[in-house]
């Protein structure tokens, strides 16, 4: 099922020509109307006429998160107050908040991108979609709300929180899909079980659109098995407009609409493009954005991309699961450790629950890494030696995955913090 089959299955060369045309239009407009971008281009000694081919995109200077922060709240905007119709403000998890503005066309593009995405997840007019992302300044709630309405689905705008009520509504209104963070869905599953409700057996839930935080393939398997749904990864950040792109039912990478965004993956250190399939930092240019131009924006998310045509027939490039952020990489005794590697390892250990906590500290001038995990009730043994073996086994698996030792602490189920929005699993006490 396609929302726009002509566009979604467009010939790659034709798509490239379209991207080149859109890129030139964008850059000419910014060179003429954005003092910031004009200056940036002059500094980089590049002129819009230099964009002879699509590959010339690499001549353009990068934009960084700090550019948005330095120009708080709206100094980068290229739309007038009359043209602006909405603001969103980023959660500021990595610093000062940033403000994103939208024109009517920006909102339309955003909605269309999600309409295509939701359709690719097998959703349509018969579906009842519970939007459990926060509504308000955060882009998740409203973005998916309009995308879901566009495909004709019925929206339950529950927003985040009030978990018991969410589960009641899910049952009573026959929700077939839910949009939220994977950690919130796990929390919801647990709360439901406490209420005597099995999401798998007692609801019509069949699809989860999950994202806004990195998660792993193992977590997907657990969610699918436990809750009886198909779970799809969704990607987007407020700077790009909000959540925009998802996997299709093939579950093999996130389709990034080429007529919407030009995607690059670069080496975070050198800024040079890496080969398809290799990991690097995601860089995006939003080709038709009007209010807040985003050109070669260094998002900070680590992924890889493929230009191969997907088994679903869509020709647009795909990015793989986000495996971390350039800036949440932990350096433990000189070794780079991504929290996603820890999650990946833990999710492969059946005795361990879904929730975990990472504590980094420094003792006697040496970095220490502590991973707290919940023991699953069925893995509990009355014998201390069994539990010590379990702990040692987890430590061994973490050490072989991370190449640095991690102490493991076994915690009681339900004792580690749960998150309704983005999970904050890492505490780095070294900074205090």
């Amino acid at each position: 099922m396609y929302w726009d089959s002509k566009m979604e299955t467009m010939d790659r060369e034709e798509l490239g020509r379209l991207q080149h045309r859109l890129l030139k239009t964008l850059v000419y407009r910014l060179y003429s109307f954005s003092p910031f971008y004009h200056r940036r281009m002059e500094e980089a000694k590049v002129h819009p006429d230099d964009l002879k081919t699509l590959a010339d995109v690499t001549k353009l200077p990068f934009m960084f998160k700090r550019d948005l922060r330095d120009n708080y709240p709206d100094k980068l905007f290229t739309a007038t107050k009359e043209e602006l119709v909405r603001y969103h403000v980023s959660s500021g998890t990595t610093g000062k908040p940033t403000v994103v503005g939208y024109t009517e066309n920006d909102l339309e593009e955003w909605t269309v991108s999600l309409a295509r995405a939701l359709t690719s997840c097998g959703l349509g007019a018969k579906d009842v979609i519970q939007v459990s992302y926060g509504y308000g300044l955060f882009t998740g709630g409203l973005g998916l709300h309009y995308g879901a309405e566009r495909i004709g689905a019925t929206v339950i705008p529950t927003s985040v929180g009030g978990t018991e009520r969410q589960i009641e509504l899910m049952q009573d209104l026959g929700a077939t899909a839910i949009c939220c963070t994977p950690s919130y869905l796990l929390h919801m599953g647990e709360v439901a079980e406490k209420m005597g409700v099995s999401i798998k057996k007692d609801t019509k839930m069949r699809v989860g659109i999950l994202g806004a935080e990195p998660w792993t393939a193992e977590m997907r398997n657990r969610i699918q098995d436990w809750l009886g749904i198909s779970a799809y990864d969704i990607y987007g950040t407020s700077e790009l407009s909000g959540p925009l792109f998802t996997e299709c039912t093939e579950q093999n990478g996130i389709h990034v609409w080429g007529d919407f965004a030009y995607t690059e993956v670069v080496d975070p250190k050198t800024g040079e493009e890496v080969a398809d399939g290799e990991k690097g930092e995601l860089v995006m240019t939003i080709l038709k954005k009007e209010a807040l131009p985003i050109v070669r924006f260094r998002i900070g998310d680590i992924t890889s991309m493929t230009r191969e045509v997907c088994a679903c027939g869509r020709t647009h490039p795909r990015i793989m699961r986000i495996t971390g952020r350039v800036d949440d990489m932990l350096i433990i005794r000189g070794i780079n450790v991504f929290p996603s590697m820890i999650e990946h390892t833990l999710m492969g250990i059946p005795e361990v629950g879904q929730h975990f906590q990472i504590v980094v500290d420094r003792k006697h001038e040496l970095d220490t890494l502590l991973v707290r995990v919940e023991v699953k009730p069925e893995a509990f043994s009355d014998k201390i030696t069994d539990l010590m073996n379990l702990k040692a086994g987890i430590e061994k698996r973490l050490e072989s995955a991370l190449t640095v030792h991690a102490d493991v602490e076994l915690a009681e189920p339900g004792s580690l913090p749960r998150f309704e929005g983005k999970a904050k699993r890492v505490t780095d006490r070294r900074k205090l």
């Binding site: 023991v375 509990f380 009355d382 014998k383 201390i384 539990l387 076994l410 915690a411 009681e412 189920p413």
Partner: protein
Amino acid sequence: MEHEKYFIKQISVFSENKPGRLAAIAKAMEEEGVNIFAFSIAEADGFGVVRALVNHPDKAYRKLTSLGFVVSFTDVIGVRMRDQPGGLYEVARVLGEANINIEYSYAYSGKEAAVLILRVDNIRSAIEKILAHGGSLMEAAFFS
């Protein structure tokens, strides 16, 4: 031979090793009117296992589980000992000679006798050997 009547249902509770956890378990027992005959705490790195013999193990299990504790049942045996020098040796010797391993143990000295609670690797064989040597075992019925 009816071994089962000597199988005493012990409850074991997983607990993080931090202040207040034992109090939480004990409070739950009080609220359910569950009496604890004997108990022990085994501690490891950051966590522990609380083991107890109680008069209503099922009630204790339900209450603790509802509070989010991880609880399991383990079959143990209770051997009456002479409450004088050599009492423990008699029991331990019988098991040692029969090559039965004691995984863990704790004891209480009550009105009736001194009792050694044992978790062994071969419960049936342990029961047979102790009875064959004239030892006396507590019946599970005593605790309910």
